[in-house]
């Protein structure tokens, strides 16, 4: 499967007191400072839309967002162009970008202490209905790579996987582990 448009969402701890629009200046600051190793273009405000992409940081390679789809806030990164390596590596690449952003948000001077990513709940999705429609066949093709990646991410700990059941939605799995794992630890694991 030649899938490059993949993404990941790291769910935030519920009850965050940070308003969505507070992320707008944060993302603009990241652009000013060249804070991420990607070509950052602009920030888009969708805070007026309920349970949507929230605030988007548009980059050339992919988009970040403080996303509220499903009324669950989380940090999303998804790739828009070709990614290097095999599927496991591609998942590690998007996770690395997402986790870097999670860490920066957790440590941001304005946000710090009001938002955290426990790391024990993630969503992995394929943003390409041609290569990866939401079918059992797609899951069969992706499963080995996804599990390799999850073994790396969670260092062999147990996890559960739940598939998005609605065939109209894009292919997506939700992964849960019992215990939280710090963002820094997850980042270290996907970076090696």
């Amino acid at each position: 499967m030649d899938l490059h448009k993949v993404g990941i969402k790291f769910l935030a701890e519920e009850g965050s007191t940070v308003e969505l629009i507070e992320f707008i200046p944060v993302f603009h600051r990241w652009i000013q400072n060249g804070a991420l190793d990607l070509l950052l273009i602009d920030a888009a405000d969708y805070s007026h839309v309920h349970a949507g992409p929230g605030i988007v940081l548009v980059a050339h390679e992919g988009n970040f967002s403080v996303d509220e789809t499903g009324h669950r806030r989380g940090l999303v990164y998804y790739s828009k162009h070709q990614l290097p390596g095999d599927m496991t590596n591609r998942l590690a690449t998007v996770s690395k970008h997402a986790l870097t952003a999670c860490r920066m948000l957790e440590e941001d001077g304005v946000i710090k202490g009001r938002l955290s990513f426990p790391g024990n709940e993630i969503q992995i999705f394929a943003n390409d209905r041609l290569q990866a429609p939401n079918t059992d066949e797609t899951w069969a093709a992706l499963e080995p790579s996804v599990k390799d990646f999850l073994t790396k991410l969670y260092d062999g700990s147990e996890y559960s996987i739940e598939k998005e059941p609605d065939p109209k939605e894009r292919f997506q799995i939700t992964v849960k582990t019992e215990k939280p794992v710090p963002v820094a630890t997850l980042l270290e694991r996907v970076s090696t």
């Binding site: 603009h28 000013q32 070509l39 602009d42 949507g52 988009n63 162009h81 041609l130 109209k168 894009r170």
Partner: protein, 762 residues
């Protein structure tokens, strides 16, 4: 590897598939450097593939102007347009009609190629932003497979044909205009006679004269349904209007014919297209819309030319073929008619029903409006809404020019269940068509032309007004707010009770986002009349202005006086005081919030602040000249309101001269008050040198001055005075912009000198 092209080959109409293949080939040729930039730009525009802000590879990040280093840095998709820069894809939705299947596809495309948001525009289109051009052929194929084309969604072509979203179910319509709008769209799409326009051409259909739905008065070509009885026989036809338009200077459409029989509407559209293509302006984009041609020729002459053309056109069966199918055209409801069960007393539901439900002329059915915040809907919501449509109404879904979606033919007994379903997907917001349902163009969020953040302001207003909506007076609830990011009027600010469009002002050496206030426009009567501008206020004071002007209205209105009547009675002189009261901008070091726009923390010209703070108190002569010009312009409006059209015209002209003089004085201190000298010096120093030219509008604003100056045998009448007043305001804005540009250039030179190493040996 499978491709969308292969997968959808059997589902795309052959002609559409071939067109997209051709477009894909052109993309490949452009990749190889074999297509000229301008040609490719027009090619992609005609397929709805638009540019977007920062696509020249430059972006001011609040600190400095920075280059966006796109990977394909050497490739462009048009003049000064980087290949890799995200762009906008406009998707035509004729008369706003969508099926659930199409909604599903639109949602998927937004998710996979954009940012999971579909945006409904003020002309019933759908737009996707941040799209990469390499994705567009597949995006188009997926649309083609469900019967949607993006062809001629942009460029100098016939744009989306719009129509009243409640056509066929409206109590006041003469008849359902839907099949006529569809036939018109199909007839004009790709027609050889519409390929050589100097500018875009917009067509709208309305079922009646008095409601807003079709907005025919602001269209290049508008059709208003009419029936005529002759010898006991009822005949369908249309009042046809031509030459309306918003844009920088709004024009009212002129009545071409009060009754064009149905079999003649397509040939007349063709004849008009041929005259427009042949005689319309081509070189000067600023004067290329058909409104200028109609204005130049006069409606009588224009009509004469069109009717002559009509006589010599070869017959085309397509003119009337669709009429044979008309008797079969009938929108079938999915469910049986029903009535609301007594006892539904949910307060939230009733609030929603009061503003978002329209009872159809067919007993037992209603239209439910799904309020989209600023026209935005997420991909998940869109797919869910498609399923809701499948359950309640089938294919009877339309977008609206107020950036919402309507579900038609809802059995009234289903309304509570429908509301619950909309609530489940967070699309149950009440207030459709009220003051909280703010319309805004993309503005500085994504538009290359945006000056101020129309969407940022709209978000802020929605929140503030929404929080107190239930306590607002009924007269205030019914007002319309419409916001454009610049003078081009995509937000339709001319038609609003409270309209705003983005401008900028230099304060203490720093740029401050402002909005010009346009009051008293008429939304009803198919956009019956346009508001006139009062003055500019800082962006951050707009919410205060709305509070104060609506409060003033409530206190001072007589009986049940409507807002528009109140504005006319009180007059702009009185309202200007309100604007002036809010016009002051505190110094940067006192309140920095004024120096950035809503929902965008970047300071526009941080690099200038050092200079600006040092020179904060210095007011140059041009500031006084511009102030005088603004005053003269305002007086011109007052004269106009008093019906003194000649005086209004002369004052407007004087205002332009005053502003031009201000610029000239920057270089030539001893400029006299002689109009010839002012115009000649202005032309020599600022127009001929290209300094005054706007990046996108070119020299058209200067031409407003030249045209008026040369018009020594001028006819003084209402229309001419109104157009000149609008042009004057734009000219003054252009002088502001030119002054700003000159100051920035000067500051850059000073900074450059400062940065240079000290000369040795001095």
């Amino acid at each position: 590897m499978t491709t969308w092209k292969a997968q959808l080959a059997d589902r795309m109409p052959a002609a559409l598939g071939e067109e997209i293949d051709v477009f894909e080939s052109q993309i490949q040729l452009k990749h190889q450097g074999k297509v000229d930039d301008k040609l490719f730009a027009e090619t992609r525009l005609r397929r709805g593939v638009y540019g977007q802000r920062y696509d020249n590879g430059q972006r001011h990040d609040g600190v400095e102007q920075r280059t966006l280093d796109f990977p394909s840095a050497d490739k462009t998709k048009g003049p000064e347009t980087m290949w890799d820069a995200p762009g906008m894809q406009r998707i035509k939705i004729p008369f706003g009609g969508m099926t659930p299947e199409q909604m599903d596809v639109l949602a998927d495309l937004a998710e996979e190629y954009s940012d999971a948001i579909s945006h409904v525009t003020t002309r019933q289109d759908i737009q996707l932003h941040y799209v990469h051009i390499d994705d567009t052929p597949d995006l188009m194929r997926r649309l083609a497979a469900v019967g949607i084309t993006t062809r001629e969604a942009c460029g100098n072509s016939v744009r989306n044909v719009t129509a009243c979203p409640i056509a066929g179910v409206c109590h006041e319509e003469s008849f359902d205009v839907t099949p006529y709008a569809r036939a018109c769209m199909q007839f004009l799409l790709g027609h050889p006679d519409v390929q050589d326009f100097g500018r875009k051409f917009k067509v709208a259909f309305s079922g009646c004269k008095h409601n807003a739905c079709g907005l025919t008065n602001m269209h290049d070509l508008g059709y208003i349904a009419r029936v005529k009885e002759t010898n006991g026989e009822i005949k369908r036809g249309f009042e046809m209007v031509v030459g309306g338009g918003l844009g920088a200077v709004p024009y009212d459409a002129k009545v071409f014919d009060e009754f064009v029989p149905e079999e003649e509407i397509l040939p007349m559209a063709q004849a008009i297209s041929r005259i427009f293509a042949r005689h319309g302006e081509k070189r000067n984009r600023g004067r290329a819309r058909i409104k200028f041609l109609v204005d130049k020729l006069g409606i009588d002459k224009f009509r004469e030319m069109v009717l002559e053309e009509r006589k010599v056109m070869p017959h085309d069966d397509a003119w009337t073929d669709y009429l044979k199918e008309l008797p079969d055209y009938n929108e079938k409801p999915l469910k049986n008619a029903g009535s609301m069960n007594a006892g539904v007393s949910d307060a939230e539901f009733e609030t929603w029903r009061a503003t978002n439900v329209y009872r159809q002329k067919q007993d037992g059915y209603a239209v439910a409006t799904v309020t989209l915040p600023m026209g935005d809907i997420t991909s998940w919501q869109f797919r869910q809404l498609a399923d809701i449509a499948r359950r309640f109404v089938g294919d009877s879904v339309r977008t609206t020019v107020e950036q919402n979606i309507v579900l038609r033919w809802v059995s009234e007994s289903d309304l509570p269940a429908l509301y619950e379903e909309l609530k489940r997907i967070d699309l149950h917001e009440p207030g459709a068509g009220t003051i909280v349902d703010v319309t805004a163009c993309p503005g500085t969020d994504t538009c290359k032309l945006g000056i101020a953040s129309s969407r940022g302001l709209a978000s802020e207003l929605r929140e503030r007004l929404g929080s107190k909506y239930l306590n607002l007076d009924t007269a205030i609830k019914g007002l319309h707010i419409k916001i454009s990011g610049c003078f081009n009027s995509c937000g339709q600010h001319h038609l609003a009770d409270l309209g705003f469009y983005g401008v900028s002002r230099k304060v203490g050496g720093t740029t401050v986002p402002h909005f010009r206030v346009v009051l008293g426009g008429q939304w009803s009567e198919n956009a019956g009349s346009y508001g006139l501008t009062i003055g500019a206020i800082p962006s951050k004071r707009v919410p205060d202005f709305i509070d104060q002007v609506t409060e003033k209205y409530l206190q001072e209105r007589e009986n049940n006086e409507r807002f528009q009547s109140y504005i006319q009675r009180v007059g702009k002189k009185e309202l200007k005081k309100l604007v002036d009261k809010l016009a002051t901008v505190p110094p940067y070091d006192i309140d920095r919030s004024y120096y950035s726009d809503w929902r965008d923390p970047r300071e526009f010209t941080v690099s200038d602040i050092g200079t600006g703070e040092c020179a904060g108190e210095v007011v140059s002569m041009i500031d006084f000249d511009l102030q005088a010009a603004e005053r003269e312009y305002f007086d011109a409006q007052l004269e106009f309101d008093d019906g003194a059209f000649q005086k209004a015209d002369e004052r407007a002209y004087k205002a332009m001269l005053q502003a031009a003089k201000g610029l000239v004085r920057l270089e030539f201190q001893d400029i006299k008050d002689d109009p010839n000298q002012i115009v000649n010096e202005f032309k020599k120093r600022f127009y001929d040198t290209g300094i005054f030219k706007d990046k996108y509008a070119g020299g058209k604003f200067a031409e407003y001055l030249f045209n008026r100056h040369e018009d020594t045998d001028r006819t003084f009448n209402r229309d001419n005075a109104r157009h000149l007043i609008e042009e004057t305001q734009l000219f003054i804005e252009a002088v502001h912009a030119c002054n700003l540009k000159l100051q920035e250039q000067q500051a850059a030179v000073v900074n450059d000198i400062r940065k240079r190493p000290a000369a040795t040996g001095a």
